[in-house]
Symmetry: C2
Subunit: 194 residues, 2 copies
Amino acid sequence: MLDAAVKVFSRRGFHAASMDEIAEDAGISKPMVYAYLGTKEELFVACLHREGARMMQAIAGAAAPELSADERLWRGLRAFFGFVGAHRDGWAVLYRQARGEQPFAGELAGMRARLVEVVAGMLDHALRAEGREVGETDLEVVAYALVGATESLADWLADHPDADPEKTATRMMNVAWLGAGQLLRGATWRPPTG
Amino acid sequence: MLDAAVKVFSRRGFHAASMDEIAEDAGISKPMVYAYLGTKEELFVACLHREGARMMQAIAGAAAPELSADERLWRGLRAFFGFVGAHRDGWAVLYRQARGEQPFAGELAGMRARLVEVVAGMLDHALRAEGREVGETDLEVVAYALVGATESLADWLADHPDADPEKTATRMMNVAWLGAGQLLRGATWRPPTG
DNA sequence: GCGTAACCCTACGCACGAGTAGGTATGCTC
DNA sequence: GAGCATACCTACTCGTGCGTAGGGTTACGC
């Protein structure tokens, strides 16, 4: 039932999607949709939650905490891109939708915040293991950038049906790990004075 | 006049924004808006174009082609974050809007494609200078990731009114340049076999 | 066979907002 | 000052789509 909603929301976008179309696609009538899932907004939130939970679960299941940092990152990325690859139109458009529409931006921000936190935790852990320490804001910002880069590649993947999720994950891992590796070793770039 | 439209679109989002509110905010009446700028859709596209052009101009003006690659990247990033910092609510929400709404996604995709192309060109140039060569898709994907990371930090910046654009640019530069620097030297990360 | 209850449908009310028609003031020509 | 054009406004039409009211249908109890 939610499947139909996700499908229509994906294809049309939140506003352009009509409850009539969702009902038709689900093979039932509109009052049933209202009876089971409430208003259009609640319905969208329900879709968002389910897809989000599935994604989080896929990632969490892959990135077990006892692994090394790069192994966790790699498995997490692979799970993420695998998920996106398997739910291309569904996830990507749902996600793009939620970004823009203000009632839902909060929901999504929470999801992303959890991801950022996890990534920041991994970086912090790895940094401490090397005896280095970095300010909390710096950590958050780097994690944010990595998550953003990953989301961006997810969009790219969703737009290129022939692309391989596994290979995309490898590419992302390259960028992330090489950059992060430099940070671990204490390398920094400084703006030219003047 | 466009200023009012940008402001309202930013605050409300494309759909929630009413032409009445835009007209009121601009201090004129609705038929005038239609007379000067056409339909709501055309109005939004006009906003998008103007803001986009301003941004592109700010970046292009800063990143002169005769500079070294890292200098160009640094100046481009600084200009970009400076622009976002100066147009926080305007740009960010306009941008977030355009991503989601299907009629406008194309416009934005074009803008981003130009950015990706520029970044990819810079990477390619720097790589060739080091005697290395990388497949076109690899180049595009890395550029895409960098642009995505940058956009993501722009969002972060827009959501943190006290954050400093200059400092954010430095952070982004660190991630980008250190990661890219590794790639330049031919370092790669490989998935564990098995 | 008749009451009734669960279930689902068609067909509507209603609000909202894009786009427009037709009227009014201000300035310009002769 | 009459005619006319320009610039602008108020007040409307009309489509669209969310949410619901009220009617049919099937199954069961008596």
